[in-house]
């Protein structure tokens, strides 16, 4: 039975390609290619290559859209601020198995357009700005962010899913 697309993972990756924050609500997802957290890390890792490869052609927009499809259910979308901070959102199309796929008939990425993710990225960006505006936020730190408020805000964004897409 098909469910609405959801957002199981939101990752914030710093300028030096260091992970700043990873929200991961439901992984590992059985019957997808993400079964361990290590898979997730490797996956996020490979999104960086896509950012790097596309960067020279990008000058104006921060929206990198669909980075790549992971499997039938999952796809990674990206956004990079002008200061080199990367946001990666992994979308779960919610089709369970092949029956779901065929019932929608659209195949991967058919249901979700890049533009649908824009408001999600905008909200993440806003929360990120609030986070780093804090005078106690240490830009040089290589540790992951520990801010309860930020965690909650990001979790809320993930929970809300993609506005207008059901």
């Amino acid at each position: 039975m098909a469910s609405a697309p959801s957002i199981p993972v939101i990752a914030v990756i710093g300028k030096q390609n260091n992970p700043i924050y990873i929200h991961n609500s439901r992984l590992p997802l059985p019957s997808t290619s993400l079964t361990t957290s290590l898979d997730l890390h490797l996956l996020l890792h490979s999104t960086l290559d896509v950012f790097d490869a596309r960067l020279p052609q990008k000058t104006a927009d921060q929206d990198f859209g669909l980075l790549f499809a992971i499997d039938e259910r999952l796809a990674a979308y990206g956004w990079m601020t002008n200061t080199g901070i990367k946001f990666v959102v992994i979308v779960d199309q919610g089709f369970s198995g092949s029956s779901g796929l065929s019932s929608r008939g659209g195949g991967l990425g058919g249901a979700i357009r890049d533009a649908d993710l824009k408001p999600v990225f905008k909200s993440i960006h806003t929360e990120y700005i609030k986070l780093i505006s804090n005078p106690f936020f240490d830009h040089e730190s290589t540790e992951m962010v520990k801010s309860n408020k930020f965690s909650k805000a990001i979790a809320k964004i993930a929970e809300a899913g993609i506005p207008g897409v059901y």
Binding site: K15, Q16, N17, N18, P19, Y21, I22, H23, N24, S25, R26, L27, P28, T36, S37, L38, L40, H41, L42, H45, S46, L48, D49, P56, K58, T59, A60, D61, Q62, T81, N82, T83, G84, H125, T126, E127, Y128, I129, K130, I132, S133, N134, P135, H139, T142, E143, M144, V145, K146, S147, N148, K149, F150, S151, K152, A153, A155
Partner: protein, 224 residues
């Protein structure tokens, strides 16, 4: 997927890729008021146009200078401290500014572009006026100058003779440095007093880019 070195830095405990279901982030023990709004509940643009008195800043900045002065050896050290403060402010200001520019924000990839961004957009956002000039140092390929006829932070400063080298606009130099760094144009920025007849307090910010910036500029855009 075949990178030699992990782009992820040696992970801290929170980031180690252990197969766990839960979120990787440690939860916190901070208390929050249930009835009051915290910074995460407010709109970021709330303070965009809000203003405070210039004197409030002058006093705060002044005390910052005084305080920094107690723990330093000489003018250079003091300027470095001010630069650091400016850097912290600049990092945050830049993110706020770019976020607000939203769609219109352009990713600056050229030296000239980023310098124009600083002398116009950034300067206007912080000081409500553009910088006065932007020019290239003729003798040195890697140096540029932005000048400000009357830097805000210096409006009340009268430098005593024994410290004539001091320019407290090192604070602004720090802001500029942070913005350049934020755009991946690492550089050293220093403030120098360069009075003109009209403007006794005129200050020049000398921007010296790191070699890799010029190298990249050459690769991307042909030598300049």
């Amino acid at each position: 997927m075949n990178r030699d070195t992990s782009p992820f830095r040696p992970a801290s405990t929170g980031a180690s890729p252990t197969p766990k279901h839960a979120s990787l982030t440690a939860s916190t023990n901070l208390r929050y008021s249930l009835t009051r709004k915290s910074i995460y509940d407010r709109h970021l643009n709330r303070t965009k146009t809000s203003e405070l008195s210039k004197s409030a800043f002058a006093f705060l900045f002044g005390e910052m200078v005084q305080h920094a002065q107690k723990k330093v050896y000489g003018v250079q050290d003091l300027e470095k401290k001010l630069n650091q403060h400016g850097y912290a402010v600049g990092q945050r200001f830049l993110e706020l500014l770019l976020w607000r520019e939203g769609r219109t924000a352009k990713r600056e990839t050229r030296i000239l572009g980023i310098l124009q961004f600083i002398s116009h957009s950034l300067y206007r956002a912080i000081f409500q006026k553009p910088a006065d000039t932007l020019e290239k140092v003729r003798e040195n390929e890697d140096e540029y100058m932005i000048s400000d006829n009357d830097p805000l932070v210096n409006s009340y400063i009268s430098v005593p003779k024994e410290m004539s080298q001091l320019n407290c606009a090192a604070f602004i130099a720090g802001i500029i440095e942070a913005v350049l760094d934020g755009h991946c144009f690492p550089a050293k920025v220093t403030a120098h007093t360069a009075p003109s007849d009209m403007w006794p307090g005129r200050t020049v910010f000398l921007i010296k880019f790191e070699p890799e910036v010029l190298e990249r500029e050459g690769l991307r855009h042909g030598s300049t």
